[in-house]
Every structure is written in structure tokens, then in C-alpha cells.
């Protein structure tokens, strides 16, 4: 399984090959790309966040933490942060619950289980942008299949993208749908790797299928669940951009901001639509701290992970 690597570069491998220049030569391309396109922009982001640009004069003024404090005090930005959090909690928890259930069912030795597995994981090939496109058409108020069905059955045609609650729900469901396949792939692999002897012992001792699942399998699946919780958090933060950009354009408007405007969408709006690079860089700096914290937590949890048997 794909697991977060250990935080230490262990030197357990003997130095088979000798030379000091040689390893650096092999590392050079990777380190160069990382330095120029990741670390340099990261430092640059922190620098930009401390300046206010004047587009008309083309000048920059040093303002320190003012950009960040303005953001934290702005009602619109606070709403965006809260929306992002709610979206994240809903998509991660529901998404993992559904995918674990489906992966468990598809692992049972039933006829056609191979086809079920295939039909559950092919959406992995769908990009967030395609997902947004399909859902935009499905929920089109006039010609979408959903409203044509609702119209003919109950003669109602909800304006899915104009009502804040409906639009938010729609984006949540679309994001869960998009993420299912990825999670199912990893859960399927983990379920197939569960120690057969432990499972059989449980059954011989008379555990019901439900007990086998909750008492035996579920604890054994905690490591992969933790891994998926973190990948899903990151995906809720970042992959949601393409989905919401096509499906809702961050709208509809609600109180102080578009209700499906999440952190990255707000960053894009301020940086590339409103050209407020200082404000956008301050948001980026805040997100850097957030992602650093999430990654740190991932390693903390990863170290404490219980390993059973195996």
C-alpha cells in the first residue's frame, strides 16, 4: 500500500556504490526542479504576502502582517473558511463510509464480484472538471435529466444552482461521487490483504458477519483509513476547485460570499480575477500553514498507528 514514508532517511542500505559526486548527479534534476518551482515560489509567496501592491502606480509597499490580519477579520473570508470546513467534514466522512461499505460488499465471494469491482472503480479515470461538466448538465433546470424526472413525476423543477442550500448540497454530493472510486481502490486492496487466519478464527468462534466487520476487520483497516482521511482532506481542499469552477462558479451568493466558494477558489478569484496579488498571497501563506499542519498531523498519527499481526 501507498503509505507515508518514514521521516528519516535510513542508511540501512550499505553504500554499495562509491563516489560523492555521483549521487548528487542523480539527485540534481529532482532537487533543481524542487528548488526552482516549489521552494522558491513558497518563499516568494511569504514575501508577497507582506506587501501591498498598487496596480496603478506599479509600486509595492511593505505592510507586514496587515494583509493576513485583514483577511482574518473579513466576514467574507471567514465565511469561506467555514464553508470549506463544512464541505471537508461532509465529503471526507460520508465518502469514506460509503466507499468502505461498497468495497466490503464487493470483496465478498459472490458471482460477478469482479465486474462489480470494475464498475465501482472506473470513475477513477474521471477528472474533477469532467465531473463538474456531467453534473452541470444533469442538474440543468430545463433540460437536465433530474428535473425532467422530477417535473414529470411531481411537476417540480428546483433551481439547483440558484438556491444556496441546494447548490451546496449538490457540490457535496458531486465531490463524494467523484472521490468514491479512489477510496474503493485502496479499500479493496486492503481488504484483500487482511490476514485470513484471524478472520477465520473469528468466524469459527461464532462471530456474526456484522461482528466480523466491526470488531475484527474495521480495526485492522485503521491504517488505510487514516491514510485515506488525509488524502481526502487534501482533495477536498484542492480538487474541489475544478469541480466548483465548472459546476457553480463559486455561487450562488449567500450572506457575504458565494456559498460554494472554497479557499482555493477565493484565492484564484483574488489573484487572477480581481488582481489583488497581496491579498491572494496572504491567503496562500495561510494555506501553507494549514497544509503544513495537516501534513504534520498525518506523520504524528502515522507514527502512533497500531500495527496488528501481519
Amino acid at each position: 500500500m501507498l503509505k507515508p514514508a518514514q521521516t528519516t532517511a535510513n542508511t540501512e542500505a550499505n553504500a554499495v556504490f562509491r563516489g560523492t559526486a555521483m549521487p548528487w548527479l542523480f539527485l540534481l534534476p529532482s532537487l533543481l526542479i524542487l528548488a526552482v518551482f516549489i521552494y522558491l515560489p513558497a518563499l516568494q509567496t511569504l514575501r508577497l504576502a507582506a506587501f501591498k501592491a498598487n496596480l496603478i502606480l506599479g509600486t509595492e509597499r511593505f505592510v507586514g502582517l496587515q494583509n493576513v490580519t485583514e483577511l482574518l477579520l473579513s466576514p467574507a473570508y471567514r465565511q469561506v473558511a467555514l464553508q470549506t470546513l463544512i464541505f471537508m467534514v461532509l465529503t471526507v466522512s460520508l465518502g469514506l463510509l460509503f466507499s468502505l461499505g461498497l468495497a466490503w460488499l464487493a470483496s465478498r465471494p459472490i458471482r460477478g464480484s469482479k465486474y462489480y469491482r470494475l464498475l465501482l472503480i472506473y470513475p477513477y479515470a474521471l477528472s474533477p472538471a469532467i465531473a463538474g461538466t456531467l453534473w452541470l448538465f444533469m442538474f440543468n433546470p430545463e433540460i437536465g435529466v433530474v428535473n425532467q424526472l422530477l417535473g414529470s413525476l411531481f411537476s417540480i423543477k428546483p433551481r439547483w444552482l440558484d438556491d444556496p442550500i441546494l447548490a451546496f448540497g449538490l457540490v457535496v454530493v458531486a465531490a463524494i461521487w467523484k472521490g468514491l472510486a479512489y477510496n474503493i481502490v485502496f479499500y479493496l486492496a486492503s481488504i484483500q490483504n487482511l490476514p485470513g487466519d484471524v478472520m477465520e478464527a473469528a468466524e469459527i468462534d461464532g462471530a456474526t458477519p456484522a461482528q466480523v466487520f466491526w470488531r475484527v476487520a474495521f480495526p485492522l483497516l485503521t491504517p488505510i483509513t487514516f491514510f485515506l482521511v488525509f488524502t481526502n482532506i487534501i482533495s477536498a481542499l484542492f480538487d474541489s476547485f475544478a469541480l466548483t469552477d465548472i459546476l457553480t462558479r463559486g455561487g450562488p451568493y449567500f450572506h457575504n460570499a458565494g456559498i460554494t466558494t472554497f479557499l482555493v477558489y477565493q484565492l484564484y478569484q483574488d489573484g487572477f480575477v480581481n488582481f489583488k496579488s497581496g491579498v491572494a498571497a496572504a491567503q496562500a501563506a495561510l494555506m501553507l500553514v494549514l497544509v503544513a499542519f495537516i501534513t504534520f498531523m498525518q506523520f504524528k498519527v502515522g507514527e502512533k498507528r497500531v500495527h496488528y499481526g501481519g
Binding site: L2, V16, L105, R108, P109, M199, A281
Partner: protein, 291 residues
């Protein structure tokens, strides 16, 4: 790299999954799975049907497949530049996947088979890059690539920044550590250098890991959206994901039949890669399971 012989299948009823036993109580599982597959596939089935209908049928409740798929596709392939976008995405995804694989193999080789000063620091540098996604760096990255490097509207802008791969480096490193060092020792004594050892021995032993990574990296490169959206302004160089957004926007009236045909074509390359490398994908990720 032990081989798991004892795999587990969840129980189907009162008795275990294997051996003789009651084959009862499986229909609820079938019902649940069929229901799930239908729900998961609805958006796609709907897209497939509408992609084959003529524009007069697309806006009607008609749910029968038509025969206009080729018409729908050809109407956007040239006029709306879908063909161009597809070609661009293919070039970019292949370059990124190949580049990432080669760079990650070389980095893993250095980390596993050499001892050198500052190795820990170099490793940390690769590790920490995982914490810095493109979306967060996008403001500064845009300034760097467009203003300093003058790469706006070039393929280099959507390929080069993504060539380093922390995930790839870790996976190959894990995989190399599972290969007995005696093999490398023997190779060295026979006068084989590190690069030849990599190409002649390590790579042939790593096809599963390479395949699994290729799937992930191809899909990742193919799905790029926000970065091409801001850095590429010319249609000639645009990728297909952003192209979809443009297809929807064309004029006031979206030609939904054509957009659905475009969405389906856009799905195909990752699906093909996924299908071709499915075996390696499952096997490549089962490796590090054994401790």
C-alpha cells in the same frame, strides 16, 4: 517482498467464505451492489445517451440513444478545437509521466545505493515538497513562470514544474530496499556501474512499481486544471480539461450533445492507461504491505 498466500474474503453467511457452506443470504449484497453501480453510473449513462442524440433530442426528455455521436464530435473536434486540446493534453501527460518516472528512479538510486554527506537533508527536502501543492504556490509560480522565465503559453510551463516526484521517489526507494543488496554487490564486483545497474537490473525488477506510478502520474497530469487555466491564454496550447470549460461557455447556447461527446472523449485516455496497467497497479501497491 514476501508473497501473500493467505488472502481473505469476507464471509457470505453463517459459514466462512471458503469451503462448503450455505450459499444463502447473498441476494441483499447483489441488490446493494447493483443499486450502487446504477447510482454511480447514472451521470455517465446520461452523458453517453445524450452524446449520441441530435440537438433537437438532447433538450427533450427522450432517453433513447441516437446516431449522432460522430456528428456531435466532429462539430467540436475542429471548430471548438477539441482535437487540438486532446493532442496537447496527450503530449503533456506523456512528458510529465515519463519525466517523473526517470527523475524518481534516479533519486531513489542515489538514496538507496550511496552514502554521502547531507543525505538526510536532501531526503527531507524531497519529503517537505509534499506539503506544497501547486494551488497554494500559484500566485508566486505565475510570476516566476510568466514574468521571469517568459514561459507563458508554452508546454514547458505545464510540464517542467511538475517533473520532480516525491511520491515516486519514496515508492521506488521502498521497492529498492526490498531487493537484496547482495545483487548490487555482485553487480559492482562484476564491474557494473550504478547507471548500468539501474537500467539492466533494477528497472526490469521494478515494472510493477513503474506501472502503478505511471497510472497515478498520468491521471494526475491529465487532470491538471487550475495551473493551465491561469498560465495558458492561447487555445493553441491549452489542455483538454480547461477546453471543456470553454466548450460550455461557447456563445450563449451550450450545445450539450457536443459537450457530452467531448467529455466522453476526454475520459478515454486515462481509462485506457488504467485498463492497460491494471495488473501492475494492483500488484505495485500490494508490495509494501508486508513488513
Amino acid at each position: 517482498m514476501a508473497v501473500k498466500t493467505d488472502t481473505f474474503t469476507p464471509p457470505t453467511g453463517k459459514t466462512g467464505g471458503r469451503g462448503p457452506g450455505r450459499r444463502g443470504a447473498v441476494w441483499p449484497t447483489h441488490v446493494a451492489l447493483i443499486l450502487a453501480v446504477i447510482i454511480i453510473s447514472t451521470p455517465l449513462i446520461f452523458a453517453l445517451i445524450k452524446a449520441t442524440q441530435a440537438s433537437s433530442q438532447v433538450i427533450s426528455p427522450n432517453m433513447l440513444p441516437g446516431t449522432s455521436f460522430i456528428d456531435n464530435l466532429s462539430s467540436i473536434w475542429v471548430d471548438a478545437k477539441l482535437g487540438r486540446y486532446m493532442l496537447n493534453s496527450t503530449i503533456v501527460a506523456i512528458c510529465v509521466t515519463t519525466g517523473k518516472t526517470i527523475l524518481a528512479l534516479m533519486a531513489a538510486l542515489a538514496f538507496v545505493y550511496f552514502r554521502f554527506p547531507l543525505k538526510g537533508a536532501a531526503f527531507t527536502l524531497v519529503l517537505l515538497s509534499l506539503m506544497l501543492p501547486t494551488e497554494v504556490l500559484i500566485i508566486a509560480l505565475f510570476d516566476l513562470v510568466s514574468r521571469d522565465l517568459k514561459w507563458a503559453n508554452t508546454f514547458a510551463a505545464i510540464i517542467v514544474p511538475f517533473l520532480a516526484s516525491a511520491t515516486g521517489t519514496f515508492l521506488f526507494r521502498q521497492h529498492f530496499l526490498n531487493i537484496p543488496t547482495s545483487l548490487a554487490d555482485a553487480a559492482r564486483i562484476d564491474g557494473c556501474g550504478p547507471l548500468r545497474y539501474l537500467t539492466r537490473i533494477l528497472i526490469p525488477m521494478s515494472w510493477n512499481t513503474i506501472g502503478a506510478l505511471a497510472v497515478i502520474q498520468f491521471v494526475y497530469a491529465w487532470d491538471q486544471y487550475i495551473w493551465p487555466l491561469v498560465i495558458v491564454q492561447q487555445d493553441e496550447k491549452q489542455v483538454v480539461q480547461v477546453g471543456l470549460r470553454k466548450l460550455i461557455e461557447v456563445g450563449g447556447q451550450t450545445d450539450w450533445g457536443a459537450v457530452m461527446a467531448g467529455a466522453i472523449i476526454t475520459m478515454l485516455p486515462p481509462l485506457i492507461v488504467f485498463t492497460l496497467l491494471q495488473e501492475q497497479f494492483s500488484r505495485g501497491f500490494a508490495l509494501s504491505e508486508d513488513k
